[in-house]
Each structure stands twice: as C-alpha cells, then as structure tokens.
C-alpha cells in the first residue's frame, strides 16, 4: 500500500520556509482543496477576521497593536511632561518679572526718599546716597528689560518716565548742591512726586499683568495636567479593552478549532472514520484539520481493507475447518463402527489400534475446533446465546465429560457446588467450554492427587475455580499463559502436547461475559484457575 507517499506529496507546505505566510497570504492552494472546507461558512466580525491570516501573523499583529498602544501612552506622557515643563518655565519667568517690577517700585520709592532726605538735610552723604540710588536704577531697568521682553510698550513708557524722573531728581540734587534748596523742593513737589506716582502706577500695572499671567499659567498647567491625566486613563482603558478583545478573538480562533480537532480525534480513536473535521480557520490549524482529515480518510481505507481481510480470514477459517472436518468425520465414523462391531468383532490388537486412531482423531478435531472458535471470537463473529441455566447442571455436565479422563490417570475428581443456587443467565455452552478447558488442563498436567471444581456465589457473581495438585506455574509464566499459542515452556508441556489455545479461549469467553479469569499458583504446589462471571448476564459485554 502506498499510503505514506501519497499523503506527503499531496501536502507539501513548509511553514517555516514560506516567507509569504508572514504576510497573512498563505498559499491556500497548497492545501488539498476539500469541498467541505471551502464550503465552511467563514464567520463574520472580529472572530471571522481572526480566522484567515496565519497564526503567526495574528500573534504578531496582536503584539504590534499592544506595542503601539504602549508607545502612544509613552508619547502622550512625554508631550504632557514637555508642556508642564514649559508652563513651569513660564511661571518662573513671570516670578522673575514680578520680582524685577517690585525692585523698580522699591527703588523709585527709595530714590524719592533719598531726594527728600537730601532736601531735608542737605549734606554730601545724603546727596551721594541719592545719586547712588539713581545710578542703581539703570541696572534695575536693564534687568526688567531682560526678563520682560514682551512688555515693550509699557517698559518704554516706564523708561521714558524714569528718564524724566532721574533728570528731575538729578536737577533737584544739582540745585541742592548749588544751595538752591528751596527751588529743589519746589521741583520735587511739582514734578518728582507726580512722576514717582506715575512710575508706581506703571510698575503696579506691570506687576498686576504678570500676576494675572502667572495665575492664568498655573490654571492652564492645572488644566493640562487634568487633560493629560484623562488622556492617559482613556488610552490605558482603550488598550485594556482592545487587548481583551484581541486576546478573546485570537484565543477563540485557536481554542475552538483545537477543541473541534480534539473531538474529531476522539471520534477517530473510537473507530468512527466517517466524519470529517470542519474548522473555519484558514491558518495553521485549518491545515492541521485538513491533515487530520486526509489521515482519517487513509485510516478509513486501511480500516476497511483490514475489515475485509479479517472477513476473508474468518471465511477462510470457516471453510477450511469444514474441509478438514469432513474427512475427519469419516475417520471417526468408521472407527466407531469398527469398535461397535458392525463389521464383526475386531481382534484385540486391531481394536487397540482403532482406539488410537479414534483418540488421535478426536484430539485433531478438538484442535481444529479451538482454532475456529478463537478466530470467530477474534473476528467478533461469536455471539453469546444468553439463556437461563442451572450452574449445578452445567458443572455436572463438565464433570461427566472429564470423568473418564481423570479415572484413566487415577486422579480424584471432586465438585463442590452450593445447594439451591438460583438460576444463572449466560451462554451455558460457552461457559461449560471455558470450565471444561480449565478442568481438561488440570487433569492433563496433574499426575497424582486430585482436581477439584468449586463454585461460589459472591455478590452478583459466580466464581468457578479449578484446583489441581500438579506441578504449578511460576510467576513469570503466569502472565503469558492466557495468550494464544503460549504454553509454559518446560519438559512437562512438551510431553503433554496441546496447541495452547484452551486458556485463550476460556479467557475470551469469560471476558465476553464481562467477567475475569486469573490464576494463583506456586511452582511445585499446584495451581488454581478461577473465573468470575455475572450471575445474570442480560447483554453481551463486548
């Protein structure tokens, strides 16, 4: 049979070496096209989408999506951080501005104070102090100009007003130096006072504006923070949901077909080759299902051919045994007529020869029947015919048929059946055959002592045991003896002969009754074979 060659040629997809599979365009034409597969309705939606590309593509896509979500969360975080940093810088700049404006205000007041002090007490110290104040002011203005580049118009005005203020203040000091204090006082009252007020107003305006800006900035950064918090939370939630959905879709697209495959394989294992596995996937699992289906088809063919071969074998055995038995029947028939004296009384020597012919013929017939029985059981052709029977009568029947064998070997043969057993149900003829095989073996292998047949009722079962005083069987051999054509390989069995089918047949019969058979023995101490079958069997076990 060319099974393996056929299957591998029809299906040469190398997943690892195929570069297109990564792109989700797996060459589906490489899969043996199967009507059931193509006709399988592809589910719509996300799950449906998850069915087409290869598993690798699906997994990589899912990880990429999750990765993208992580990166976007990171980017959003970085952007928020940058904005917060900018806001913080703005606030710091505004604070510097405010500080500088306040310095301007402070210095203006001090100048005014210095000029007033110089007017009140005009000497070199107060005058030098006032002048130092005026010089200091240029530095303050530069600083303001540096930190508040955006307030050009107001600053220009401040600078203009201040230039006037310094000019007036310097003039007032010059007047004081020249001893014209009254004039200076006049100038101070008339010009310096209002100028200082105006400067204060202007700087106040600047401070107010900067403070308002700062409050707005702090507010804005607070809003930005809240917004980015919301954004991160939303993206995190979205990625959580997306991951769940993706995971669900992919795992369903993996788990469902795996479950279907599992069930299909179970069916195949149970011997049902008729059904095909149908998964909607067109990925590696779809290919696996196609593989399983083609393997199943081949198994089905193989199974059918095996079944047919088995049928042929059984038919052959049935025919052969009939052909073998026909001449054997003639041999046994004529032997019996000879021994019955139909052809006249045979001389003693001839009688003894005919007895041997008859005995060997019967032995041969027994062997042929055993082979036939076993082959029928193996082929499942032997059906039990279940009926009520009396255990006592069954055991007595076996006793009667082996009585003479035991007597020939001068062995004791005893039976122990409990009185008044309720009627049993089973295949009486087959159970008698099993018991007969056990008793026959016991008599065959026992040279002195006795063979004892015992029946016990145990719960819903009957236990039949056959105990002998023969050579016993060691443990290693006990495991093999129930297999066909297995005999304990020692000189005793070689002398005794037999095909080794009796125990195998007994075991099959007992098992068909749903029972079990076993042996307890020690070398040199006899053996006890037992089997237990249900007292009332309503349906054949297997």
């Amino acid at each position: 049979m060319e099974l393996t060659g056929d299957s591998s040629e029809g299906f040469d997809v190398n997943l690892e070496a195929d570069p297109t599979s990564f792109l989700g365009q797996h060459p589906l034409t490489a899969v043996p096209s199967r009507a059931s597969r193509d006709a399988a309705p592809v589910k719509e939606g996300l799950v449906g989408f998850a069915l087409r590309p290869s598993l690798r593509t699906k997994l990589i896509a899912a990880f990429l999506v999750i990765e993208m979500l992580l990166v976007s969360v990171g980017v959003i975080g970085l952007l928020s951080l940058r904005e917060a940093d900018q806001r913080a810088n703005q606030v710091v700049a505004l604070q510097h501005k405010i500080e500088a404006y306040r310095q301007v205000q402070h210095d203006t007041l001090r100048q005014l104070h210095g000029v007033s002090a110089a007017l009140a007490l005009p000497n070199e110290t107060t005058l030098a102090g006032a002048l130092r104040q005026i010089n200091q002011f240029g530095y303050d203005l530069d600083r303001v100009a540096f930190v508040a580049k955006d307030e050009v118009a107001l600053l220009d005005q401040v600078r203009k007003e201040y230039a006037r203020f310094t000019a007036v203040a310097s003039h007032a000091i010059d007047l004081i130096r020249n001893g014209r204090a009254a004039e200076a006082k006049q100038s101070e009252l008339a010009e310096l006072g209002p100028l200082a007020d105006k400067l204060e107003r202007l700087t106040n305006q600047l401070v107010n504006r900067a403070e308002a800006d700062m409050v707005a900035g702090i507010d804005a950064s607070r809003q930005t923070y809240a917004r980015s918090q919301m954004l991160v939370a939303a993206v995190a939630l979205a990625s959580f949901v997306l991951t769940l959905v993706l995971g669900h879709a992919i795992s369903r697209s993996v788990i469902d077909p795996v479950r279907i495959l599992h069930d299909g394989l179970n069916r195949i294992a149970a011997g049902d080759f008729t059904q095909r596995i149908e998964v909607p996937n067109r990925d590696e699992l779809g290919e696996l299902a196609a593989h399983v289906n083609s393997t199943c088809e081949e198994l089905e063919q193989l199974y059918r051919s095996l079944e047919e071969a088995s049928r042929h074998k059984s038919q052959f055995l049935a025919n052969m045994s009939h052909e073998l038995r026909t001449p054997l029947n003639a041999i046994l028939g004529f032997s019996e007529l000879l021994l019955d004296g139909i052809y006249g009384d045979p001389p003693e020597k001839m009688r003894s020869a005919v007895v041997r012919i008859q005995r060997n013929g019967k032995h041969l017939l027994g062997l042929i029947n055993d082979v036939l029985d076993l082959s029928k059981i193996e082929a499942g052709q032997l059906r039990l015919s279940l009926a009520d029977y009396s255990v006592e009568e069954m055991v007595n029947g076996v006793y009667t048929s082996v009585e003479s064998l035991a007597a020939e070997k001068k062995l004791g043969l005893r039976i122990a059946v409990p009185p008044r057993l309720p009627p049993a149900r089973g295949d009486e003829r087959r159970l008698a055959q099993a018991l007969f095989n056990l008793v026959g073996n016991a008599i065959k292998f026992t040279d002195a002592g006795e063979v004892r047949i015992e029946v016990e009722a145990e719960g819903d079962s009957y236990k039949f045991s056959v105990r002998d005083t023969g050579p016993g069987i060691d443990e290693a051999d006990q495991a093999k003896i129930f297999q066909e054509f297995q005999q304990v390989d020692n000189s005793i069995t070689k002398v005794k002969g037999g095909a080794g089918l009796g125990l195998a047949i007994a075991k099959r019969i007992v098992e068909m009754h749903g029972g079990r058979i076993w042996i307890e023995s020690r070398l040199g101490q006899g053996a006890e074979f037992s089997f237990m079958v249900p007292a009332r069997l309503e349906r054949q076990a297997t």
Binding site: A318, S321, H322, R325, T326, P327, L328, N329, A330, L332, G333, F334, E336, L337, D340, I342, Y343, L365, N369, L372, K376, Q381, L382, R383
Partner: protein, 122 residues
C-alpha cells in the same frame, strides 16, 4: 411388514458409506440423494419414513430442501433430522426455522444418531 426407509441426503461418499453400514446393520432400508434437488425428488417418489438431511449440499442446500419438503402437505409428516457442522454458529436455530424435527451436530456418534432415528421410527 417392510423395513423402514431412510432417505440419506449427503454429498460425501465416505459419509454415505458409514450410514449405509450403520443403517443396514440396524435393519433399515436406505435410499440416497446427493443434493437438495435429488432429495426433493426422492421424497416425492420414494416415500421415505424419515429423512437424514445434511446442510452443506451442492445445488440446493439442506435448509431450503427442508423448507420445500415441509411446505408440501403430502410430505410434511415425514420427520427430518438435520445434520450440521459444528462450525457455523446459529445452525440449530436456522434448522429449526426451516422446519426440521431434530438436529444432530457433526461429528456425531453413530450410536447417538441411531438412537435419534429409532425415536422417530418405532
């Protein structure tokens, strides 16, 4: 009184010889048929007192021959003992269904067979 006639339907010559010897020794007259059709003809023309019918026969098997004989009202009274091989399970049921009166499995003991025949002919 004429001796009782037994129709033996059997395709194997050696088996027929055994029965010839057995039946002659027991004082029966034996007529022979080698297949089902011959058996039908012999049953109609030779008025046997008992039929010993083998199952595996050429041309027409023993079941069918039994059925046809039992279907004829003038032949129905003739007892038919069916002889089957032990090999094929369900033979006894089939033989009973075909309408036989008794059933003997091969290999039969000559003594037992004679006992069964005597049961119907005395």
């Amino acid at each position: 009184m004429r001796s009782k006639r037994v129709l033996v339907v059997e395709d194997q010559e050696d088996n027929r010889q055994i029965l010839r010897d057995l039946l002659a020794n027991a004082g029966y007259e034996m007529i022979e048929a080698q297949n089902g059709e011959e058996a039908l003809l012999a049953a109609q023309t030779q008025s046997p007192d008992l039929i010993l019918m083998d199952i595996q026969l050429p041309v027409l098997d023993g079941y069918e021959a039994t059925r046809r004989i039992k279907a004829q009202s003038d032949l129905r009274h003739i007892p038919i003992i069916v002889v089957t091989s032990y090999a094929l399970s369900g033979d006894e049921e089939k033989a009973r269904a075909a309408g036989c009166d008794a059933y003997v499995a091969k290999p039969y003991s000559a003594k037992k067979l004679l006992e069964t025949i005597n049961l119907y002919l005395t």
